[in-house]
Amino acid sequence: MPLRHTAASFNASGSPDLVLALLADARLPVGGHTQSAGVEPAMAQGLTSAEVPAFVAGRLRTVVAVEAGTAVVARHHVLAGADLRPVRLAWAARTPSGPLRTASENLGRGYLRLAGRLWPHPVWATFERTPPRPLVLGAIAAIAGLDAARLVRLCGHEDVATVSAAVLKLDPLDPLVTTGWVLAAHPLVEELVTRCASLTDPGEIPATSAPLVEQLSVQHSHAKQRLFHA
């Protein structure tokens, strides 16, 4: 059921930069350490460390745009008091891999646990049990006062940082190298801001697909030995 919120019902009193820093912190207890953003299955199929920046760039221009676009539209819907179901359906239709939907739903549950405690708000009661991560992120942004551009930056940064942290567990590499990847991705993250920050309608959410990411996620879900969930 849609809830109609007044602007006053949102607690936008915190600093948006600090909220962004809090949400982008790898130590945020939402289960992020269980995810590799697709890099474990890719490395299992022969992806080398040297190719990771190209892998990251491909993700930022495809599946991460789906994620960021969904989050931005969800934020808009929460602010407008509109039903989130069409946003969820749009996200699901753009996420053809079952394992990737499940990974997003597991993270979404983690963020929902966190959000319900840190930013109490009636909107959380309207969420289903396993919302995808971008839906929850969008609602957190609406409630905690994070604007759409910062929300997109969060999605972009999170993805690159997840890949980079996971590679350190999979390949002996200097952590300064992987941190350099995160910094080098900033122009692509800003491109994502231009592409996604002004979206409001579920039909406008990017649907850019990454066939290898999707295919490998399915193979990974059958793998007997894995460090990361997806």
Partner: protein, 242 residues
């Protein structure tokens, strides 16, 4: 919205969910076999579920399924991203969701056992994840391990010294090790366990029975074995979260 489990709010859940029991301890001390033993002994007494946290996802889950001690779907593996310590303490989200899923799918359950991925002597469960925990050592790790102490050895709800049947082969005096452990634990329970020693197995199941009863009556409160080392507070007192 999903349940949000808080440390020290067991009252909120009494009667509504299973007792969550963590099994921690160094790699190779027999955490999986302690769980297999508990399942074999108690599957007719309690409705059980198991979560494993192996480094490579499902090795331990497969071992437990192959033991046939529990229906395979009641044993689930959680990935830890090579961070077994994080998964039971700093960020328990993945484990907590897996526990909630088990409770949801097999409602009602009496006890959910959560096996840590096996780390070092400092890894203990957060009370945000479990209500009580067993720390497992084995005689093969050496007779002096118990004396070395650490939060799990000192303050877990139960310390198990496992594989006592191997003691003669590794030159360890079980009674001495047990006495060291009791001293380190200031009287908290210690069980010297062997699968072949019926009395020790009975002591283990009796201990768990006592915890379940206390949990159900509300008399049990989760105790955090605490940080890795005693630490100083601003007022100058030293304190070790006992």
């Amino acid at each position: 919205m999903p349940e949000t489990t808080r440390p020290h709010d067991a009252d909120h859940h009494r009667g509504t969910r299973a007792l969550r029991l963590g099994i921690a301890g160094p790699v190779g001390t027999g955490k999986s076999s302690v769980i297999a033993l508990l399942c074999r002994e108690l599957r007719d007494t309690y409705r059980l579920g198991v979560i494993t946290n192996d480094i490579y996802t499902d090795e331990d889950a497969r071992f437990l399924r192959s033991e046939g001690v529990l229906a395979p779907e009641r044993i689930r593996a959680v990935e830890t991203g090579a961070c077994p310590h994080t998964a039971i303490r700093d960020d328990v989200t993945a484990n907590l969701l897996a526990v909630e899923d088990l409770e949801h799918d097999f409602d009602p359950l009496d006890v959910v056992l959560v096996e840590s991925g096996g780390d070092n002597l400092t890894a203990t469960f957060s009370p945000a994840l479990v209500d009580a925990q067993i720390f497992v050592l084995d005689v093969a790790g050496g007779g002096d391990v118990a004396r070395k102490g650490g939060p799990g050895i000192g303050r877990a709800d139960l310390l198990v010294v496992n594989k006592t049947d191997l003691a003669p082969y590794v030159g360890v005096d079980v009674e001495r090790m047990r006495a060291d452990a009791l001293a380190a634990r200031e009287g908290r329970p210690v069980i010297a366990l062997s699968r072949t020693d019926r009395a020790s197995v009975d002591a283990l199941t009796a201990w768990l029975g006592g915890v379940v009863a206390a949990f159900r009556s509300g008399a049990h409160s989760p105790v955090d074995p605490g940080p890795m080392a005693p630490h100083f507070h601003a007022d100058g007192t030293v304190h070790s979260h006992a």
